[in-house]
Each structure stands twice: as C-alpha cells, then as structure tokens.
C-alpha cells in the first residue's frame, strides 16, 4: 500500500508534515483533501512553493479523493493524505476510502469552544462527536504530532477530552 498515513492537521502542509513525517516515510506525494482549497489555484501555489522538489502536492475535493484514493493506494509512490479537519477525514472514511489506513491526528489548535486535550490538540464537544463518528467507521484513529512522540489511541483521546 502506498498511502503511508492519513493525517488531520489544521496547518495542512507544514514543517512537521514535510520534514518530520515526510523524511521519515520517504514521501513522494502529499494529497490534500479539502473542498475549499481544491478550488483555489493561488493558495495551492503557495503550498507548492514550500515543498522540496522530490515531494509533489496534489489537491482534491472529497468527491474526487474518494474516486482517486484506490489509485493512490495501488501506486508505488509513497503518499500522505492530509485534511484540515475531522469532518473531512470522516467523510472519506464513511465512503470506505480509508480501509486499512491509520488516521493520525496531528494538530487541531485553539478556537472558540475548544478545550485543550494535548499541547497540539484542542477539541470542542462537536469535534468529540466527529471523532466518535470517525472511530465508528472502523479505521484506527491515533494522536501523535511527530514521529517519536507517544501515540494515543482514540479511547485515550476521548478520555482526556472528557477530563
């Protein structure tokens, strides 16, 4: 399988993804699944501008990603699927696009109604509900910001969120 990891991170393409995980996993491409960003060429160019030459950025909306993901999995290239929020990843999972792939929560930051769960993870009650729906699809959900950090499973995350 060539999809090495699926990650939820509100910063999308950034240092931890490109250097922390990208170098570790030997990535060839990062597939950003985001309905809004897939329609914005100039924002896509901003993200591409920061990538090293050996990593390609692909942008897709959810519907396109569901169509393409089996090809991404079958390809020899090593890839990383990235969404900025839980709901987008949950939509992929509910469509069966993430079977057999681990979903990593790598960064959801402070906002209104969100409480700190981990230094890199803040969740609102609605976020908690989305996480439960994501877990109910059967995919493995973990939280880990960088390789080498302790990995928490979904039950641990939800326990911490309930404080």
């Amino acid at each position: 399988m060539a999809i090495k990891l699926c990650r939820i991170d509100d910063r999308l393409i950034h240092g931890q993804v490109v250097v922390g995980w990208g170098a570790r996993l030997g990535l060839d491409f990062i597939a950003v699944v985001d309905d809004e960003l897939s329609a914005s060429e100039w924002e896509q160019d901003l993200y591409r501008a920061g990538l090293p030459e050996n990593i390609e950025a692909r942008f897709a909306d959810v519907a396109e990603a569901i169509r393409e993901i089996s090809a991404w999995k079958a390809n020899d290239e090593r890839g990383f699927v990235l969404t900025r929020d839980i709901a987008t990843m949950r939509r992929l999972a509910e469509a069966g696009a993430l079977d057999g792939v681990e979903v990593n929560i790598g960064g959801i930051h402070a906002a209104a109604e969100r409480q700190r769960v981990l230094p890199y993870l803040f969740l609102s009650p609605a976020d908690g509900g989305e996480l439960r729906r994501l877990g109910a699809t059967g995919v493995e959900v973990t939280a880990q910001d960088v390789p080498g950090a302790r990995k928490l499973d979904l039950d641990e995350i939800l326990d911490l969120a309930q404080g």
């Binding site: 393409i13 240092g15 250097v19 100039w42 924002e43 901003l46 920061g50 930051h109």
Partner: protein, 135 residues
C-alpha cells in the same frame, strides 16, 4: 525607527526567532526595527493576523526559518496581498546582520542584497590550509 526604514520580522518554530534576535543584539547592540514572533500555540490564522497588524503601514522583510513550514506559508499568504512585504526563507545570522545595517535602503534593494551578497559558508576539513602544521 525612521518611518522610511524597512522593518524585519522574524517568524520561527520554537524559540528560534527570540534566539536570533538575542544573537543580533549580542553582536551589534542593535535590535531596532527587528521583531521576533514564534508560532507556539498559534493557528496559521492567528499568526497571519499578528503579521498583518505588524506590517500594515511599514515596508517589511519577513524572515522565516523553514521554506515548507507553516510560518513560511503564512508569510507567503501575506505577501500575496501586500506589495510592501518580502519573504526570506532560511533565515540565518549573517542575513540578519546584513539587514540591520541596511534598513535604510529601499525594500527591493535590501532583497537584492540578501539574495546575492550574503552567502552561507560551508567548510570542511579537507578545505583547510595545508601549510598549517598539525599540532
């Protein structure tokens, strides 16, 4: 700071920006026109809002650490709508030292200086002077 002088804004992961500012102060005694921001605990939107405020009425060079990092992305977003902002990725001390002594130049001239006059020195033991006797 003179209103015509260009300001420098250091944006980094962790505490690198503060550390670089401290090093500039240690070497030159100058930090006027330089501001350090780190991204700890900030969303990209928070960081962009702070940068937007800092650069609203001054020509600025935003120095960031990693070309693929969130700090660089935020700076590029800002530059896309601000003609008075330049973005320099891969900030290091020689770049900053050159900048603090040339802030009086127009923004375009500063960028040209940083692009062409300030190199990074990479040296290796085999490059050494063979006439120096071993100890």
């Amino acid at each position: 700071m003179s209103s015509s002088e260009v300001q420098g804004i250091l944006v980094s992961h962790g505490k690198m920006a503060d550390g670089l500012l401290d090093a500039v102060r240690e070497i030159t005694g100058l930090t006027e026109g330089l501001v350090a921001l780190d991204n700890l605990g900030l969303t990209p939107d928070d960081l962009e809002e702070r940068l937007d405020h800092l650069t609203s009425d001054k020509p600025s060079v935003v120095f960031v650490d990693l070309p693929s990092g969130s700090c660089a992305f935020v700076a590029r977003r800002l530059r896309a709508r601000r003609a008075n902002v330049a973005v320099v990725c891969g900030v290091n001390l020689p770049l900053l030292l050159d900048f603090v002594f040339h802030r009086n130049l127009p923004l375009d001239d500063i960028v040209a200086r940083l692009r062409t006059h300030v190199g990074v020195s990479i040296e290796h033991t085999t490059d050494g002077d063979k006439t120096v006797p071993d100890r």
